[in-house]
């Protein structure tokens, strides 16, 4: 950390890198959804033409959905895609609205941290109990662990967007 008050904090300096990471993670989540669609399509055609569906495709879909959604959440946050009621605050000055948004971003960061904490303990327990899916016996803990990491990314993305609002009000 430098003494220069305009560049205090490594988080602020890491901002472009976090932004890029969030963007790529979102695209990755989208690609995962596309992959899921392909898998299911192949399974449907296999079932229809040769009575040979891909066994347990729904287990991949379940896991894939959770992973994809956690990939999306940080991107939605930095794109300010989360819906809120803004019709009753139009009278506030720009700065006031930015500070309100920053406050809720901090609350969201707290919730994300709680989620990351919960998911990491959940992953540990699933690792210990060697919990698997019903049909394919896929281990569940890696998926939960990845979600925990992505929840941590959500925490950082909420912090970054809060910092941005405080620094240069939109």
């Amino acid at each position: 950390m430098s003494d220069d008050p305009t560049s205090s904090g490594t988080l602020w300096q890491a901002q472009p890198a976090i932004d890029r990471a969030i963007g790529w993670v979102a695209i990755g989540g989208g690609a995962l959804a596309l992959g899921m669609a392909l898998l299911v399509t192949v399974s449907v055609f296999g079932r229809w033409l040769f009575s040979m569906p891909i066994e347990g495709d729904f287990e991949f879909v379940k896991m894939g959905t959770a992973l994809a959604v956690f990939c999306y959440l940080p991107y939605t946050q930095v794109q300010r895609g989360n819906i809120m009621v803004d019709s009753l605050t139009t009278g506030l000055p720009q700065r006031g609205r930015a500070l309100l948004d920053a406050l809720w971003d901090l609350v969201y960061a707290g919730v994300a941290l709680l989620m990351a904490h919960g998911l990491s303990t959940g992953a540990m327990e699933a690792l210990k109990s060697r919990e698997t899916t019903m049909q394919l016996q896929l281990l569940v803990w890696p998926a939960i662990a990845i979600c925990a990491v992505l929840a941590l990314l959500l925490f950082f993305s909420a912090l970054v967007s809060a910092a941005r609002l405080v620094r240069r009000p939109a």
Partner: protein, 480 residues
Amino acid sequence: MTSLQIAILGFSMLGLMVLRKPIGLSMLVVGGIGYSMLNGVGPFLAYMKTNTYHQFANYTLSVIPLFILMGALAERAGIARALFKAAERGFGQTRGGLAMAVIGACMAFGAICGSSVATTATFGRAALPELRRYRYDGGFATGTIAVGGTLGILIPPSVILVVYAITTEQNIAKLFQAALIPGLLAAFFYCIVIAIVVRRNPDLAPAAPAQEELPPASKPGWMRGLAILLLAGTTALWFADRIELTLLVLGGLLALVMAFADLAILPALAIALIVVGGIYGGVFTPTEGAAVGTIAMLAAGLIQRSLSLADIREALRQTAVTSGMIFIILLGAEVFGAFLALSRLPTVAAEWVGGLGYSPYLVVIAMLAFYILLGAVMDELAMILLTLPVFFPVVQGLDFGMFPDDVAIWFGILVLIVVGIGLTAPPIGLNVFVIHQIAKDVPLFATYRGVLPFLLADVIRLALVVAFPGLALWLVRVLS
């Protein structure tokens, strides 16, 4: 404090939403605090441990990102333009025909897109320039597109219906079936509104394009022959008991499209028929339908060279933002719903309303009126997720002389119609804002004035479906 008092306190804490607190976050925080107050912090932390994962690792929920991805790809694949050109040929000569063409094309697009915002944005780009070129009144044009956009959700597939189905544990396929006739009715009513409005004020739609100005159809001569062959083939197979009735209907519809529509819209209509028809006929689950539709849309776009790599990347990004927005609200609604269930407020409310002795229809009408008011200031998706945990048990507790499942489906369609109204009605109609972003030169007020006559038609349609539940339930019965 009793659990009911805590629940009421929770609802008032949701009031922080007026201070720009994101809706999903509000429900998460209030739900979390309420849960901890009723059951203790320890159980809540245990609940959070894997619930966020298991909540999302849900086969039914996977239809949401898939349908959004399918719509995002369709938005970029030039499907809307082709549909509009085809509809323009059909309606172009009548007065106000271009506006009717917007409604017709939106209806077809609604069968491959489950989001009204995406439909509005797509047609704002694909059709608005054409309407302006023929000197259509600005507010009439934008109003028509904003209203046409609601067909994105009114015609199945529909993200709103999926969310309703998941929250109330109803069958998505049945809700999609029930939505079809009211959805087609909406498009029909909108065309009537256009005809009346234009007759009363011809200045709104001054010029009809001359025949030679209309884009030519791209349809080779052998297409009709192929259509007849397809129809004959499927009928023969059905008589021989080799295929089911649904496949015959699908084949017949496809033949109809091939005979009368042009080649450019064939991929769009084929995808719509496969996805919606396949889900209706029980050929596949909604998730499978969405997956097949997504891949078919991607393939059609790549083959027609209308989807570039940049388009696909943009579609993935858009899917991320929209799905992320929906899922955080879904998570919030789940936690909030768990808290409400603990507080027993929904059960108490259901018993209380049931004990008042009002006519069940009056209760439903009051709820719909409340939705229209709330929808004026709040996002519609969040509105239904917030209220359904209380409203749905109340509705299920009332006696309409119908099976509870039928009531659930019927109420879902009513909610869908009200959501459509909320998307276009002042002061906050999301579709109106979307079209305003695209056509900044048309004042918001003018668009709202353009929307107004359509809203009247919406209210009439709502009243019809309230009075005649069969409009929604008939097709469900026929198909089951």
